[in-house]
């Protein structure tokens, strides 16, 4: 195996900038080894194992795509928030028209709870303590929102439920990204 082949395997599924970083540091390492008279690639170990470890600490290609493609800035994140609230308003309207006026009042707290899920980038809780408080508030909002939606038991409520789960999925991904980047490099949606 050549050093190029080792690096290709070790950088599989990493973001381009992460792969470049690995290429630079392993290249530099190998140059030092050569200068010391050691050209044995085996001393670097299994590139697949190194790749697994790199993927835990450096941005992967899907994560980089998520940052750059879906929520590159504040505005794109809020487009999703507006879409979510519009969804709640449409549901409320549909309930009112279809004679389920008893469900319409639930749209208000559900809308507020959904907005709470999206409010992270606005608050940008930087200190660990603020982040903890924010997570507890957001988690409680999620649970109460779900209870409201499940007890509403109407087909329209599933579209709002999907919206809650969409934010939750983003939150899980954001947690992983937060661990891999220093706080000054956090993209705006990493605060959710």
């Amino acid at each position: 195996m050549t050093i190029e082949q080792w690096i290709t395997i070790a950088t599989r599924k990493l973001a381009p900038e992460s792969a470049e970083q690995v290429r630079r540091e392993i290249g530099e390492h190998f140059q030092c080894a050569l200068a010391a008279g050691n050209s044995d690639i085996a001393s670097l170990g299994d590139p697949r194992k190194a790749n697994r470890q790199y993927r835990k600490v450096l941005l992967t290609a899907p994560e980089a795509k998520l940052i750059k493609g879906v929520f590159p800035d504040f505005a794109s994140w809020w487009k999703y928030a507006i879409l979510g609230v519009s969804n709640v308003l449409i549901c409320a309207g549909a309930w009112a028209i279809s004679g389920h006026s008893d469900l319409v009042w639930r749209a208000w707290p559900i809308g507020v709870l959904l907005l709470l899920q999206y409010a992270g980038p606005l608050l940008c809780p930087k200190t660990p303590q603020h982040l903890r408080i924010w997570r507890i508030a957001r988690g409680a909002g999620f649970i109460v929102g779900m209870v409201f939606l499940i007890t509403t038991w109407n087909w329209m409520s599933y579209s709002i439920m999907a919206q809650f789960f969409f934010v939750s999925a983003c939150q899980i991904r954001a947690t992983v990204i937060r661990r891999k980047l220093s706080s000054d490099r956090w993209p705006v949606f990493a605060y959710i």
Partner: protein, 106 residues
């Protein structure tokens, strides 16, 4: 010999006195353990990145012989962590020695 999970501690120990670059850190660990701890060098950098993310290590680039090299230095929380790890290791080591002595293996 590969002691799983001890690499971060060994890295902190290697750069405790002065900053160093990746290759030299790997060689230092091997030489100081008289080649008993022979880890694979490809796993050194993910461990260094993890330490950097955790704030135990900081890195900077420096020119050396016309080449840019990344140096790693230990931070204040790295020093604190190393002190904790040393205590923990001594405790574990004493406990294992006691068990082995009990069985007449040490």
């Amino acid at each position: 010999m590969n002691l799983r999970g001890t690499l971060p501690t060994l890295i902190l120990e290697a750069i405790e006195r002065e900053p160093d670059h990746g290759y030299s850190i790997a060689q230092r660990i091997k030489e100081r353990s008289k080649r008993v701890l022979d880890f694979k060098e490809g796993t050194l950098y993910p461990a260094l990145h993890k330490l950097e993310l955790d704030g135990m290590v900081a890195s900077y680039e420096e020119m050396e012989k016309g080449r840019t090299r990344r140096y790693y230095r230990i931070t204040k929380s790295g020093h604190d962590q190393l002190a904790k790890d040393r205590q923990e290791w001594q405790k574990v080591s004493r406990a294992v020695s006691l068990i082995l002595k009990e069985r007449g293996l040490a």
